[in-house]
C-alpha cells in the first residue's frame, strides 16, 4: 500500500523573512496573549475543579452570569433586526444624510466604553433628557435592567450592520429580477431569496455582538445599578474579587467566562463553515 507523505510543516519558499516574522509572531503572541491566558488556566488548575465549582455555584454568581447572558442575548436580538435594516437602508437607498448615518454606525467601535457609559447614564438617568421622559411614563431606565440593555445594544450596534453590508452590496440584482420574472412578490423574494443570502453574515454578526456584550464592562457599570442578585453583571464580579485580592475566586469566574467566549468563538466558526459549504462563500 502506498502512503501519501505528510506535507511538510512549512513549505520551502524563496520569500525572505521566514525566521524573523515567525519569531516576532510567535514571541509576541505568546508573551501578550497566550502566556497570560495560560496563567489564568494554571491558576484555576492549582485551585482545583471542585473549589472553582464552589465559587461559581453560588446564587450571586449564577444571577450575574444569567443576567449578563439574558440581556446580552436580548441586545444581540435587537441588533440583529436593527442591524439588518440599517445595512439594507445604507446600501440600497440614497437619501440626504446617508453618509453621516453610515459613519455614525462605527461610533460604538471608536468611542471609549467609559465615555459611552457616562453619556448613556446622563441621558437615561431619571434627571436626564430621556430618563425624565420615561419617568413620566412610569418607567425607570438607568440603574435597572433596561439601562444595561441599552448599553449592551450600544456596544453591539456595529457588528451585524458591518457584517451584512458587504453581502447586501454583493447581491446580484439579476437574482432578484429572476425571482420577480418567476412571479414572486417582493415580500416573497425578500423572504426566500434575499434573507437566506444574508442569514449567515447576520448570524455571524449576531454572535459577535453577543460575545462582545457578555464580556462588556466599561459602558455598563455606570448605567447598571450594580446591585447583587439584581443588576450586577458577571465581569463586575471579577473586578470585585480582585479588589479584595481574592485571586482564586476571580480566576474561577474568569475561567467560566473564558469558556463561554470559546464556545461562542466555536459557534461563529461553525456558522462560517456551514455557510461556505452551502453557498460556496461566506
Amino acid at each position: 500500500m502506498l502512503r501519501t507523505p505528510r506535507p511538510p510543516l512549512i513549505h520551502r519558499s524563496p520569500m525572505p523573512g521566514l525566521g524573523l516574522t515567525m519569531g516576532i509572531t510567535i514571541t509576541m503572541l505568546s508573551l501578550v496573549v497566550l502566556l497570560p491566558i495560560g496563567a489564568l488556566l494554571a491558576k484555576g488548575a492549582s485551585f482545583g475543579l471542585g473549589n472553582m465549582w464552589d465559587v461559581v455555584n453560588r446564587e450571586r454568581v449564577w444571577a450575574a452570569l444569567f443576567l449578563s447572558f439574558r440581556l446580552s442575548f436580548l441586545a444581540a436580538c435587537f441588533n440583529l433586526v436593527f442591524g439588518v435594516i440599517l445595512a439594507w437602508v445604507l446600501t440600497r437607498y440614497r437619501f440626504p444624510g446617508r453618509r453621516l448615518l453610515d459613519a455614525a454606525v462605527d461610533l460604538p467601535f471608536a468611542l471609549p466604553t467609559a465615555v459611552a457609559g457616562i453619556a448613556l447614564t446622563a441621558l437615561y438617568a431619571p434627571n436626564g433628557a430621556f430618563g425624565a421622559l420615561a419617568k413620566e411614563l412610569g418607567v425607570k431606565i438607568a440603574y435597572t435592567e433596561w439601562g444595561i440593555l441599552i448599553a449592551l445594544i450600544f456596544v453591539g450596534l456595529p457588528f451585524v450592520t458591518r457584517t451584512v453590508q458587504p453581502v447586501v452590496e454583493e447581491i446580484d440584482r439579476e437574482v432578484e429580477e429572476a425571482s420577480a420574472t418567476l412571479g414572486a412578490s417582493r415580500l416573497h423574494t425578500l423572504r426566500r431569496v434575499i434573507w437566506p443570502m444574508l442569514a449567515p453574515a447576520a448570524l455571524t454578526g449576531f454572535a459577535l455582538a453577543l460575545a462582545r456584550a457578555v464580556g462588556e464592562y466599561g459602558s455598563v457599570i455606570f448605567i447598571a445599578g450594580n446591585i447583587p442578585l439584581s443588576t450586577e453583571i458577571a465581569p463586575l464580579l471579577i473586578v470585585i474579587q480582585l479588589e479584595e485580592f481574592n485571586y482564586d475566586a476571580a480566576a474561577a469566574i474568569g475561567i467560566a467566562m473564558l469558556l463561554i467566549s470559546f464556545a461562542m468563538l466555536l459557534v461563529i466558526n461553525l456558522i462560517q463553515i456551514w455557510s461556505r459549504r452551502r453557498i460556496g462563500h461566506v
Binding site: 439579476e174 429572476a178 425571482s179 420574472t181 418567476l182 412571479g183 414572486a184 412578490s185 416573497h188 443570502m197
Partner: protein, 239 residues
Amino acid sequence: MHIDIDEISKQFGATAALHPVSLAIPSGALVALLGPSGSGKTTLLRILGGLEFPSSGRVLFDGQDATHLSVQDRRAGFVFQSYALFRHMTVFDNIAYGLTARPRATRPEKAEIARRVTRLLDLIQLPHIGARFPSQLSGGQRQRVALARALAIEPRMLLLDEPFGALDAKVRKELRQGLRDIHDTTGLTTVFVTHDQEEAMELADLVVVMSMGRIEQIGRPQDIRARPASDFVRDFITV
C-alpha cells in the same frame, strides 16, 4: 403568442438608450436581437420582460396592451446572462421556485411540482442533478438549469440575455442546438440577445440588427447576408 413593439423609447437620464423602435414578432418565432454593446438590445429585452419600463410607446402581447403589466404577471420566462440561479437552493428548488412562489390557491400540489421539475430535468437532459447546488455545476449545466427554471412557470414567451455569453466555444455549439430543440418542442415565441453574428445567423428565424438604440435591419439571416441595409450592418456581419 405574438409580440408587437410599438414606438418604444427609453431614456436613462439625459441619454437615450432606445430611440422609438417598432417591431412585430410573429407567434412561435425564434428571434435574435443582434448588436454591439450599447446598441439597446438588452434594454429592449428587459422592457419585454417587464424589468424596465419604456419612456414612451407600447408593448402588445397578442394584441393586448401589456406596457404596464407588472413583471410578476407577465409570465415571461427570462434567462439572465449570469443565470442568476439561487445559490442557497438545490437545482430542484431552483426549478420549482416559480411554482412554489404562487399564492396557495393557484399553487400546484407538492407531487405535481415534483413531477413537473422531473420532466424539465429530463427536457434539459440533466435528469440526475436535482439534489445538487448551483456551485457544483459546470457553466453549461447552469445555463440549462436557468432555462428549465424559466420554463417551469409555463411562460408565454422565452427571453434570453446573452444565453451563451459566459461559455467556451465547444459548449456554446452544443447548447445552441439545445436551445433550438427546446424552442421547437415547446413552440414558444423566443427572443434572445447576442453580440455574436454567427450565433444569431445560425440559430434565429428572424434577426434584428441594432445599433445605438435604433433598429438597423430586420430580416431572415439569409436576406440580411444577401442584402445588408446599411454600411453598419455589412461591417457588423462580416467581422
